[in-house]
Amino acid sequence: MTQQQLSGYAPTPPAARMENHGSAMVKIAMQSGHDIFARTGSMIAYEGFIQYEPNPPAVRQMASQWITGEGAPLMKCSGDGVLYLADYGADVVCIHLDGEALSVSGTNLLALDAQLQWGVQRVKGMAKFAGQGLFNVGISGTGWVALTSRGTPIVVDCGRGEDETYVDPDALVAWSTNLKMKGRRSFKASSMIGRGSGEAYQLGFSGQGFVVVQPSEDSTDRLRARG
């Protein structure tokens, strides 16, 4: 059997803690003592000795807002080796936070360093409308974060002009923590009779910072839907 066609996809030696392998896969170089919180069910392969602890107590406490009775959506991975994570072909973006802070939509968070500070908030006003509710994970500190995005994301600067930036909550991936956020309904009576524009609610952001948006409005949580 010749593997010449496939050999180009062999992993490169890890050069950083989190790296992309292709566009839709993240490769995490694990070291014991440096744990990772990853989305439950996102592991696709690993090399080495890595242990998984679903629903760890630390996460259960932090994510008590987020959990909906099925347990926390994060698992703790510890050990030595290389861990590969993916979320059904979504693009993965690895970011190293260097004392910066970032808010990530719950469904778009793939993995984060356990040493980062993080907390879960429910976005006010949106929970009632956006179906399952929108959860926001605030992350700060120094370490790595992996986000998913269905399609190449776009980063939009909010501080341009006096107008606010409005985002479809289904397409929102991440935003800078210092932005002011408020829900906005553009819900008219006409949509009750089938004449809606399809855009019923948006999140408005104001202040200096950026918003990351994915080119897809499919916000279903594939990792969770699988159970």
């Binding site: 030595d80 190449t152 776009i154 980063v155 341009r160 985002v167 080119p215 409005e217």
Partner: protein, 317 residues
């Protein structure tokens, strides 16, 4: 402390920082004990002799990164391991920082303005409504982001439009975007292609239209032919001056129309209206009677002057 190539105070080290080659038998100096890789009784240490060392043999190219002083509170520096019994076998990976937030996100920045329609990346298009103040019609719910004062309203097709749309399957659920500002459209991370019409016409399947300028006229066109399930094929024809944004599942192929251009009726997304469409069906009385038939029963043949094109997506609806 060993003399790492990177000064310990350097806040950030690019991952490709020149690090000493692997299997350096103990980087000189260093007073840190190596907790990692110590042969602990009871379990085989990771990377113990006899095991295939993770990350390849020594000299495989695993960068043995000296700690750039990134995690000061940690007592044990990774990648140092001067007292390790088997140097070079550790899965030593730089645990330092990569490029920061701003650098990572830089490549996803918004493309500069200037035109009315700007493709931001292959899956996202931005329209600047302020450039000539003309409203845009878009598929309902396809807005992902907007800046400025933009209003989204239902756009009805009218009674006749609804009847025609219903009968032909070429109906679109549209919304009308008016106001001043920039609107970003995307849907299901499909690939997006703005096509600018300058008085010419384009035939697009209604399912593949994402947005278009209100100045364009569109009507349902019938493709004649025998052997099509359902009697006939219908498409939308856009005409006038303005831009139509079409979406494809996957990277499409744009074929020039030659005397022998054929396309599957289910995969063809758009074609320039000057091309003539002929339905070429393989007529065979027994084509559904046996299991091995090709499944390709209705093909569209395109004919036209050079300069015409068709767009085919790798996805059959």
């Amino acid at each position: 402390m060993a003399a790492p190539l990177v000064p310990p105070g350097t806040p950030m080290t690019p991952p490709a920082a020149p690090v000493p080659p692997p299997s350096a038998p103990g980087i000189p100096g260093g007073g840190h004990p190596a907790p990692y890789g110590h042969p602990a009784p009871g379990h085989a240490p990771y990377g113990a002799p006899g095991q295939a060392p993770y990350g390849g043999a020594p000299g495989h190219g695993v960068p043995q990164g000296p700690p750039p002083g990134q995690f000061p509170p940690q007592a044990a520096p990774y990648g140092q391991a001067p007292g390790m019994p088997h140097p070079g076998q550790a899965p030593v990976v730089p645990q330092d920082g990569g490029p920061g937030l701003g650098v990572v996100l830089e490549k996803y920045k918004e493309a500069p303005t200037g035109q009315r329609w700007t493709l931001q990346n292959s899956k996202l298009v931005r329209v600047d409504l302020g450039i000539d103040g003309q409203p845009v019609l878009a598929r309902q719910g396809s807005m992902v982001l907007y800046q400025g004062k933009v209003d989204f309203n239902y756009k009805g097709a009218g009674l006749r439009g609804r009847l025609v749309g219903n009968a032909t399957g070429q109906e679109m659920q549209l919304m009308r975007c008016t106001g001043q500002g920039q609107v970003f459209f995307a849907e299901d991370s499909t690939h997006i292609h703005p096509v600018e019409l300058q008085g010419d016409a384009l035939c697009v399947s209604a399912d593949s239209v994402l947005a278009f300028d209100e100045s364009l006229q569109h009507e349902v066109r019938r493709v004649e032919g025998h052997g099509i399930p359902g009697g006939a094929l219908f498409t939308l024809q856009f005409q006038g001056t303005g831009t139509v944004v079409i979406k494809t599942h996957g990277t499409p192929v744009v074929l020039p129309v030659t005397p022998t251009t054929f396309a599957d009726a289910n995969a063809v997304v758009a074609w320039s209206a000057a091309a003539q469409v002929i339905v070429s069906s393989q007529v065979s009385m027994r084509r559904h009677a046996y299991p091995g038939h090709s499944g390709e029963s209705v093909n569209l043949q395109f004919r036209g002057a050079p300069g015409n094109f068709i767009v085919v997506q790798p996805y059959e609806v």
